[in-house]
């Protein structure tokens, strides 16, 4: 266990190294150099060269990467070429919005998916199950950029229940207004996840319910719902955790769309605006940050198997 987990950490570190190098190298190739963005289009080649030297951009990519990494390890991701804002500060300022969206989206998805999956699994193949499956497949095919405008039209334009766009901060407007502004965007991200959670949990529960120990529990005279929740549901929560990590990547992608659509001040919006504005330092910082967070979360999820499921602790997980 210890050896496998340390090699897992080493692998994640290697991945992070490759990822950061690839992003810094890639974005340093971007047309419209940093100096060009700062100095404007009328800069003379001499001015550009001077600024490049000052910023260290005339050095080889490996040296640039080394310097960038040294600073990044100290929490300094550089300053935006356009606004001059510190990239680290910009990221920290925007984390809460994206985090709240992601958490809310996954919670909504689970709140819908778990009851549906339990209903499906108790009577697989029944008419209710088939109807739920049909809806679940439909949800899977609704990307955020389709769900967003449609939800806006239904709930914000027609019924005026939620704001069309904008973000209310908890500190200023209170929790209720904040949730009201976050609900539609979160729902837009949540829809396809409802489907993937439901599919997985349904398959899982049906398989578990055929196990011998379920029959034994029933034979002891335990009630159906008790067996379902305590004996069958718990092992399935294990696969839900895995899926959570996979879906998180999708949620981040969804957040990019939804934050642009609803004009929410989150990380996704920051990526889009900095890339459209050719703010390379900012873009590098945010892209690297998202990738590293994603790697770390998936690594933690791998570790959590051992805690959740004793069967994993010993066996080799090839």
């Amino acid at each position: 266990m210890l050896r496998s987990s340390s090699s897992r950490v080493a692998r994640s570190l290697l991945v992070i190294l490759i990822v950061t190098f690839a992003v810094t190298a890639m974005l340093s190739l971007a047309p419209g150099s940093v100096a060009g963005v700062i100095l404007g289009e009328n800069a003379t080649p001499d001015q550009v060269a001077a600024l490049n030297e000052k910023l260290g951009l005339d050095q080889p990519i490996l040296v640039q990467y080394w310097n960038w990494m040294l600073n990044a390890l100290q929490g300094d991701l550089g300053n935006s070429a356009i606004t001059g804002q510190s990239v680290t500060a910009a990221i920290i300022e925007r984390i809460p919005v994206t985090l709240e969206l992601a958490i809310l989206a996954v919670s909504i998805a689970l709140m819908i998916a778990i009851p549906l999956a339990i209903i499906s699994a108790t009577r697989p193949g029944s008419r209710t199950d088939r109807v739920i499956n049909a809806f679940s497949s439909m949800f899977l095919s609704i990307p955020a950029f389709v769900a967003g405008p449609v939800l806006i039209y239904l709930f914000a334009v027609q019924f005026n229940l939620f704001p069309v766009n904008g973000w209310s901060r908890i500190e200023e407007d209170g929790l209720l207004l904040n949730l009201r502004s976050a609900f539609l965007p979160a729902l837009a991200i949540a829809l396809p996840e409802v489907a993937s959670f439901h599919r997985l949990l349904r398959t899982d529960l049906i398989t578990t319910l055929r196990e011998d120990y379920i029959a034994a529990a029933r034979a002891k005279g335990m009630t159906g719902s008790f067996v379902l929740l305590r004996h069958a549901f718990r092992p399935s929560s294990f696969s839900l955790v895995t899926l959570f990590g996979i879906n998180l990547g999708r949620a981040i992608g969804g957040a990019v769309i939804v934050e642009s659509l609803f004009s929410l001040p989150g990380l996704g919006q920051l990526v889009v605006t900095s890339i459209s504005a050719r703010d390379i330092t900012m873009a590098t910082g945010v892209v690297v940050f998202t990738a590293v967070v994603y790697v770390v979360i998936n690594m933690l999820i791998d570790f959590s198997y051992g805690f959740l499921d004793p069967r994993v602790r010993k066996g080799s997980t090839s």
Binding site: R11, L14, V15, V19, A22, V23, M26, L27, A30, P31, P124, G125, D129, R130, N133, A134, S137, M138, L140, S141, I142, P143, A144, F145, V146, G148, P149, V150, I152, Y153, V157, S196, R199, L200, R202, T203, I206, T207, R210, L243, I246, N247, G249, R250, I252, G253, V256, I257, L261, V272, I275, S276, I280, A283, V287, T290, A291, V292, Y294, V295
Partner: protein, 303 residues
């Protein structure tokens, strides 16, 4: 060891869009009746989209660039051009939807197949040879998977000038790791079977084992993921176009149509609902087709 035992390995993150494939456990009854009707309708819709995309220039729908009347007209019967109304500039929405289908299908299919070929090649090489080659391939795959798909596409769009080719390169890049993982797991599973050892003992070389023994077994189950991958790619392309970073105008794309319609959604909902409906139906149909193929293929693999 059967492939089914590796089903959970094969359920790969396709963080771009549609698809986590839950393990196809044969014990779970597939809901047959509704499926057949929906699958049938899905194939009909896909055929329709494919037909109109292929023969777009022959259909009497006019050009997607030239205005045909007043802007923002409601859908109306009568002429085919006006069937879905006009957009903000007075162009035929039907023509734009059809030419948009061309872009989406082309990008999705070409990148999907390119990713399939590249990914399966590397996955099989890694799975078959193991050791160092496998380690390198796995780490590179992990690095590619470290990016949420849309973020990777956005980063790519900042260094490549948006065009059809660069879009396809980016989209290929995000599906390669999926196919690497799928084919690697499947190759490892088949590679431990008796007939592979028998072939090796009879003196077959690596090339022969890979091409004659492994390939016919590995390809079909992986290929059934193609419709789902193409659906995810269409979603990814739509997301990029929605953000204005996809194929540059005036070439129509479904995502771009939603983006331009969303500002006037309160008064002209049709401008959003029509492309949204088309994307939904296409993605849904591809997912249905993929599920259908996978379930069928799993059945045949049982015996």
């Amino acid at each position: 060891m059967t492939v089914t035992a590796h089903a959970s390995d094969m359920a790969e993150p396709l963080s771009g869009g549609t698809g986590l494939a839950p393990s196809n456990d044969p014990l779970v009854p597939a809901s047959q009746k509704t499926r057949s009707v929906m699958v049938y309708l899905s194939f009909v819709w896909l055929g329709l989209v494919l037909f109109s995309a292929l023969f777009a220039s022959l259909l009497p729908v006019g050009s997607y660039e030239v205005p045909i009347g007043r802007p923002r007209q409601m859908p109306q019967l009568g002429s085919l051009e006006m069937l879905l109304g006009t957009d903000q500039l007075g162009r035929s929405v039907l023509a734009r939807v059809i030419y948009g289908a061309r872009v989406s299908l082309l990008v999705g299919t070409v990148s999907g197949i390119a990713g399939f070929v590249i990914g399966t090649t590397f996955g099989m090489i890694g799975g078959y040879f193991g050791r160092k080659i496998d380690a390198v391939i796995t780490v590179v795959t992990d690095a590619l998977l470290a990016f949420p798909a849309l973020i990777l596409l956005l980063a790519l769009s900042s260094i490549l000038t948006p065009s059809l080719q660069t879009l396809m390169i980016g989209l290929t890049l995000i599906v390669v790791p999926t196919f690497v993982r799928l084919s690697r797991a499947t190759t490892i599973a088949w590679n431990s079977r008796e007939f592979i050892r028998a072939a090796r003992n009879m003196g077959a070389g690596n090339t022969r084992i890979i091409s004659r023994e492994l390939l016919p077994n590995v390809l079909p189950p992986i290929a059934t993921y193609l419709p789902i991958v193409i659906a995810a790619l269409i979603v990814a392309e739509g997301s990029l176009s929605f953000l204005g970073l996809g194929i540059p105008p005036p070439t129509p794309s479904w995502g771009g149509m939603i983006a331009s319609g969303k500002d006037v959604i309160a008064n002209y909902p049709a401008l959003v609902f029509i492309p949204a409906g088309v994307i939904f139906l296409t993605v849904f149909s591809l997912n249905q087709a993929g599920d259908f193929l996978r379930v069928r293929l799993d059945r045949t693999m049982q015996d």
